[in-house]
Symmetry: C2
Subunit: 357 residues, 2 copies
């Protein structure tokens, strides 16, 4: 419990990322690889022919219409920030992504994933550009080779050190993957709880200096018995709902830091269930992109139709996600902080301005 207080920049950043009651209702529009892939599909062209201006203007439009619903917007410094900065309202915090989109394949059968920074981009630049916090996505499989584990751990540790140095909140996103085959099957669904929880156990170590974890839902509702009458059910069961709830509880016990849930592009109905289950177990909100706005991309380049979708269905999706997140645990009520009464500046004294380095 952080009764020693929170450093100034991290404290102010945490306050800005959440709503006034401490709940995170954050929007992600930092997708790069997945958005290029989707645009190529929609425009029926090769990925290499998707133009920068298409990606940038689509991000601008999504940000303009949806950002006012959020407490913070996560965007990227390549396609997002340069054209969207004026679309993020003054009272919505700015999160900037640090990692290069995607991953480099590694391992004997190239089945492991290495994350890397965006070239010519630094956390110092992000701070000067006005970022209120830094987000890093690290792919992680706890059974990957030692080489891969060490690379990913060192990368996360580097960002933790830089965020400490610049006194910015560090939001770490962990994404699991399959060492064999794909993630879209009952076998992977069964592995997922352990993959998510073991990854959390690794990166909650204080040496990584993470402030907030952005996590996958630790089970797959597509393979959960009680959801077989839902549109997203995949036809097999890996567990039942009571087991999924236990997994969420185990995750919350493992997470010695506040955590939020990500959408990984699932449909909005499934995401709302994820938010409800996660917040019931102790999550502090969400950081969600595609579940809210992905279907808007189908209408591109008809920006009128994109706009209409964003103003209607996507806005309703956001409102529904926000409503589900009302049940979230305020970040300062997480046991890491121990309640609002424990929230104060580190080294609070009349010499703070001298002691602060």
């Amino acid at each position: 419990m952080a009764t020693t207080g929170i450093s100034s920049g991290k404290l102010r950043g945490l306050m800005k990322l959440a709503d006034a009651s401490g709940k995170f209702k954050m929007m992600a529009i930092d997708q790069r690889g997945s958005m290029v892939t989707k645009l190529a599909e929609v425009l029926d062209i090769d990925k290499t022919n998707v133009k920068y201006s298409d990606v940038a203007s689509l991000k601008t439009l999504i940000t303009r219409i949806l950002a006012p619903n959020s407490t913070a917007v996560l965007t990227d410094p390549i396609y997002g920030h340069p054209y969207s900065i004026t679309e993020i309202p003054r009272d919505v915090a700015l999160l900037l992504a640090y990692e290069e989109s995607g991953y480099v394949s590694e391992g004997v059968s190239e089945n492991e994933r290495l994350s890397n920074p965006i070239e010519n981009w630094t956390i110092e630049k992000a701070q000067r550009a006005g970022a209120d916090a830094i987000k890093l996505l690290a792919y992680y499989h706890p059974d990957a080779s030692e080489t891969t584990l060490q690379h990913q751990q060192a990368f996360v540790r580097h960002v933790g050190d830089e965020c400490e140095k610049h006194d910015l909140p560090f939001l770490l996103e962990l994404v699991s993957y399959a060492l064999e085959g794909t993630t879209k099957n009952v076998g992977f669904a069964k592995q997922k709880p352990d993959l998510v929880i073991r990854s959390v156990e690794e990166f909650t170590d204080p040496s990584y200096k993470v402030d907030i974890l952005k996590l996958e839902f630790p089970a797959d509702l597509k393979y959960t018995a009680e959801y077989q009458d839902r549109a997203f059910y995949a036809g097999e069961s890996a567990y039942d709902l009571s087991e999924v709830k236990q997994v969420c509880q185990r995750l919350d016990e493992a997470s010695t830091l506040p955590w939020v849930i990500l959408s990984a592009g699932v449909d909005i109905e499934e995401f709302i269930e994820n938010v409800q289950l996660a917040t019931a177990a102790g999550a502090s909100g969400f950081l969600c992109g595609r579940a809210i706005w992905k279907d808007a991309v189908d209408f591109y380049p008809d920006t009128g139709a994109v706009t209409q979708f964003l103003e209607n269905e996507a806005t309703t999706n956001f409102h529904n996600a926000n409503a589900a997140a009302e049940n979230a645990l305020p970040w300062f009520e997480h046991r890491h902080f121990g309640g609002a009464e424990n929230i104060h500046l580190a080294k609070q004294s009349e010499n703070w301005h001298q002691d602060y380095q």
Copy 2:
């Protein structure tokens, strides 16, 4: 006109300091010397016996109750920030003062004023601590000695350079003073228009890299003929109201940058008139402390009575000031920026993240 765009940190900072329509309704609680003096008077003790904790807790209380009315709070890193940081709402921007309170006397009869930085405090620290912008108060009399002028100019230029380096908005406050006698007489009132305007002419030079000017009202309504039936009228006239309006116009013509009006501790009735006249001439709002909350200090250490005053009279004062500022010119409509359609990131391109240094 800044059609070349605005750098990322300054753009985001400017957006945060103002309301969504670009009008500044900012609150100052960075007073140090004047607050110690006032507390000594109220507590009937020597200034040297005023405790740090009295100043800090009074600032915390004022910030807690009044900050929600503002678009930005200006506080100081010594008494203010360490204890008030958690009282500034997430959607209210944070301005930190850079200068040491008061001044060092200079010149043959010690009638000139030199400003200095707070010891062991830097703009780099302010940025890491979460400041959205930097405020510097520089005393200035254009007829001071060359030594004094050069010292003040160099100090302002240093802060301008540092703010550029850290990409933070630079808000420069200029305060005039009398080279002979005091400022509370009709003679000084007559000089004031020229003092304010000539100071603005100096510091709007691009070499100072100022973003917003925080200015005294360029005349003294206590010595304005039409105000003789008002409580604040001092019994003599330096000018009439039409002349004061012309002075405000001249000031606006001189200010090639957006400007806001300060209160210098006048009573609220006079300040509201100042805001109305200044915004009618082109000011972009106010940054006001004492005119809003100063009478609360009279009740210290009865914090119940202080609270009651702040929640009632002071809150009403703030609402009245905000209402008067509705007539302000949005910062982006100032001729320096040339309208909302010209507001975009500097070096906006797909290589921005690489080019941004």
